[in-house]
Symmetry: C2
Subunit: 625 residues, 2 copies
């Protein structure tokens, strides 16, 4: 039935994935208009001219206008066939469902995505690590003289838990709590093996909500997630810099610090833990909850971060053959490493594979499920250290490459981390530079995704050659000075009154980093006798990995030139894996068996490593669109 008051044409519904948001569009609007009007920041560098190719989206359902000429240039026929469009060129003709790839979104929008992505991937059974029981106990009397703890154990036995241990710390306030709560309490059990064996990790008043904490300890960045253990929702999250940066920006320099300073390991451990504690404090303050309600924690990190977090020596990780002190999963008591959560709770750390393939990579790979899928899957977690896993023909192999901190903005002349005002996208359109900054703030520096874009554009525009050498000097400023470089933003337009440039050295840093990654990919493929074009799914994890422009990464040769739709940017999958490991006992068991199946390849011992690395330093000869 027609609405008699509103006579104008009806609005169209636009369902936007993976955000899961529904917006409305007036007839005649483009997808870009509709999204931007609804507050969704799709990146657009050319102002809707259809030339920057930043605003790509994929139509899942519904009708939009015909594919334009610009789009035929922007996409391959396969991509167009699978629904790829530039949002600025697609006019809405019906209700539509679209998917926005993370790289088309501005950083704050991408950050919002993470929790959503996680929810979609959730597949728990009833096998939770933490389960609670609201118990009503018999009050002691002269004819009922069992101990306080025995009462709890008997009540749990009636619920089928035959073997329940009790953390010693619980006893410190159990007797008082039972009496003030009039013998009605919520008993929190942590399961390690099966449904009959558990450990009491908290006894709280009935109705107390319970939380878990997942922490991803990166060499550079820390991410922490506060998870509601009832709804399985991430209710708070927070990122911080790893404070150990002050003692060395990569794992090698942190190991060196520990070797050279007696007590150095303790210093690094305490710095890290106190920052994590601050992150916890911020989240619980925001949420208005007490520490005691966080009853389980998962920490993932590369092997060096894993060892430094747990206060385990790292010296042997810096010496051939780089063996970890421990590879098995760990269940450490939170209080043993001074993590400020419930006194009797545990920190679970997934297994490490090798000295340079750690628990964070295991967590990431688990969350992507590549080990249980058909076809050939490659999963890569780009960071200061980059880990790569390849699942092919039931085999699982992995390696590690020292990509360095350039993608974090370190060692880059005007580098900065991905924060407000960082240039995150660069495009040279008809000789004119277009940039996008995080938060749309005036530019004050350039972050990893920005520098990759810049290098790719400079190469595409032939301003630098395949060696990374500036060949069109007329585009440079400060020639002959220390500050010789290609200017992205002039001093007049920058946010700090400085001219923001890309130097030869910056390009070289990116060459080193991308060469390390590509060498790893190629050697893994070689090990299994697969050529890159056989890869069905190329999964890119890590905060940085979600932000990069895949095309730019292909142009500079960091990634092999696969069709764009085979790439999947999955965000902080290590963190998401940590959240799943926080919740699911099944996942923990799978992780243990998975880590035993994984074969580690030590790249530096491959005879071709050196030569492959050197040739990977160059940019690929054929420049793609």
């Amino acid at each position: 039935m027609k609405n008699p008051i509103n006579q104008k044409e009806p609005n169209f519904q636009i369902d936007i994935e993976p955000i899961g948001k529904r917006v409305y569009a007036e007839p005649g609007e483009t997808l870009l208009d509709a999204a931007q009007n609804a507050g969704i920041d799709i990146i657009s560098l050319c102002g809707g001219a259809g030339i920057c190719n930043s605003c790509k989206v994929r139509i899942i359902d519904g009708r939009v206008s015909e594919v334009t000429r610009n789009e035929r240039t922007a996409f391959t026929p396969e991509e167009i066939a699978s629904g790829f469009r530039l949002a600025c060129k697609a006019t809405i003709l019906s209700n539509v469902k679209i998917d926005i790839p993370p790289e088309s979104l501005s950083t704050p929008q991408r950050l919002q995505l993470e929790g959503q992505e996680f929810k979609a991937g959730l597949e728990f059974g009833k096998e939770c690590v933490i389960r609670y029981y609201d118990l009503e106990l018999n009050e002691p009397s002269l004819t009922s003289l069992e101990s306080d703890l025995s009462r709890i154990k008997s009540a749990l036995e009636k619920k089928g838990l035959m073997e329940v241990h009790c953390r010693f710390e619980i006893l410190k306030n159990l007797s008082d709590l039972l009496r003030t709560q009039r013998w009605k309490v919520r008993t929190v059990i942590r399961y390690l093996l099966d449904d009959q064996h558990g450990e009491v990790v908290a006894v709280l008043p009935v109705g107390t909500p319970l939380y878990g904490l997942a922490v991803d300890v990166g060499t550079t960045k820390l991410a922490a997630y506060l998870v509601d253990l009832d709804t399985h929702d991430i209710v708070e999250k927070i990122g911080e810099m790893n404070p150990q940066i002050a003692f060395g920006e990569d794992v090698i320099s942190r190991i060196a610090y520990c070797n050279e300073h007696s007590g150095g390991r303790d210093v690094l451990q305490k710095k890290l833990v106190s920052t994590i504690n601050l992150m916890i404090e911020k989240m619980i303050k925001k949420r208005g909850i007490k520490l005691e309600r966080i009853v389980e924690c998962v920490v993932v990190g590369n092997t060096v971060m894993h060892h430094l977090f747990a206060g385990i020596p790292v010296k042997q990780l810096g010496l051939i053959p780089f063996v970890p002190a421990i590879a098995d999963e760990m269940n450490i008591r939170a209080c043993d490493i001074c993590i400020n959560i419930a006194k009797a709770s545990y920190v679970y750390m997934p297994p490490n594979i090798a000295g340079y393939v750690g628990a964070d990579h295991v967590s990431m790979v688990m969350s992507t499920r590549i080990h249980e899928k058909e076809g050939i899957h490659l999963a890569i977690d780009i960071g200061t250290n980059t880990e790569i896993s390849l699942a092919a023909y039931g085999k699982l192999i992995c390696c590690s490459c020292a990509s360095g901190p350039a993608f974090e903005g370190a060692h880059i002349h005007h580098g900065m981390r991905a924060a407000a005002g960082a240039i995150e996208r660069v495009k040279i359109l008809n000789g004119e530079i277009r940039i996008a900054t995080i938060g749309e703030k005036p530019a004050i520096g350039i972050c990893g995704s920005g520098i990759i874009d810049a290098v790719a554009e400079l190469y595409k525009e032939k301003i630098i050659d395949y060696r990374g050498v500036f060949v069109k000097k007329e585009f440079l400023i400060g020639i002959g000075t220390k500050h010789e470089g290609y200017e992205l933003v002039s001093a007049d337009f920058s946010g700090n009154g400085k001219s923001l440039i890309v130097t030869r050295n910056d390009i070289n840093e990116i060459q080193l980093a991308k060469a390390a990654i590509r060498t790893g990919i190629d050697l893994l493929l070689q090990e299994t006798g697969i050529t890159y074009d056989k890869i069905d799914k190329f999964i890119i994890a890590g905060a940085f990995g979600s932000y990069i422009n895949i095309r730019s990464a292909i142009i500079i040769g960091m990634f092999p030139p696969l069709p764009i739709d085979r790439f999947h940017q999955v965000g902080n999958a290590a963190g998401m894996g940590a959240v799943e490991l926080l919740l699911s006992l099944k996942m923990r068991k799978l992780t243990t068996s998975f880590s035993r199946r994984m074969t580690y390849i030590e790249l530096t011992t491959c005879p071709e490593f050196q030569q492959k690395f050197i040739s990977a330093m160059y940019f690929p000869k054929v420049v793609d669109r």
Copy 2:
């Protein structure tokens, strides 16, 4: 063949049990002469006149002179038949083997006995709690990349240990140790269940000797034993006062202190632990060993001491129905309660039975094995709180009585603890007072065994009546003053220039204490329908229990008038039980099942308690010999 040089008559060998010492006697010497010449201090108050009956011994084998008239007065015909003699009256006629009851020995000699007694009772299989393996591991290489810990686990698997956990603390120095020790290490495993499951609690250089620590935490006194885990010998022992005395001399006042002072429980816990740490320090310093070599600890104590040691609330132990927070055995990590032994080691605490029958009593009863023997056995541990267990017809029942600190010398006018100069034996011979002091030092006070003797002698000599009232005033000094009492030592002969007396109040304190104990014994017997004369073995444990004169205890009515040979003074059996529990896994398992079989009787809820207690205050009408 006769020795041609030494023509005089041969010496006789005297084997002395339970000390296990062999001495030699000239023909014609008495057993007392022979023992004293060899440095064994048998108490003799009458100087060998055969009238003080202090020097009783039992002939196990060999010939001595005929029983004298004095001895027929001193012993019952049954005792004589079973070999009892006064050492001063028995002349040696052949090689002889004798047994000296603890009460016939001076305090320092008795203390020396404890380890010996323990050795005699040792009955382990191969089921040790702590076992070690000297491992030779494969060095890592580029073709052998397992973690350091995996190498240890694999080596242990080859030895049949399939499930080995590793204490997190081990990892803190494992990697360095393996490399400095060139992959040869001693791995120390703690067993909890069976031979296939263990936990690595220490990794040390090959050849490192290992020790264990057993601690008996009494309300008043602490005893610690350092045990060689290879030989099972007690290599050091030490006693100290419980520093919590400053916060209340009995358990009730300590509970009150915790209730009245916020943080009081922590204060008491820290005081106790720091004293135990000092005791450890003294022992290891004397022995010249490192803390890290002590790899297991057992702590026993009554339930309040147990809870206060572990830092568990005691408030509910002071409220009807006096239930413990935990009754099950505990395995706490030493570092969780700041006991300074090897970082990854555990403290095992045996189960508690009830609020006032604790792990120390369990440990004591276990060491006496009354639960596995035929007949009717009563085991009593006398202290500020006295626990009694009765094993009869396969039934095990126990109770607790508040005997108070009088036996520790507290609340006694010239009371002191059993230290040098304390009067430990009193005898009135023909109206003349004979005393023996600890260490044969001039008297400066009177300890528990001395005051029991004194009260018994005053009653026997009819200086006090059955109510404890002085009836022969002519023997008193200071009549009408606060210091009215019976003088044991005059100011001229005492070690501190003071006249040492026994007051009416002292007698009353002893009456309260002995009434509490006797009421407990009688109510336990009543519960099982047994009369006291049916008791086959009356085992007296506790340091104080070993020192008392059984006859005096019978005279004042503290113990039932059983034949003297049914009494067995077993020293600090709780401490000895703790040592056994330190070593034997079998004992730990038995203790768990035993504690579940034990039935606790709450005396204060028995309807007859009050009346029985009041009548037990009086001294028994019939005065025995």
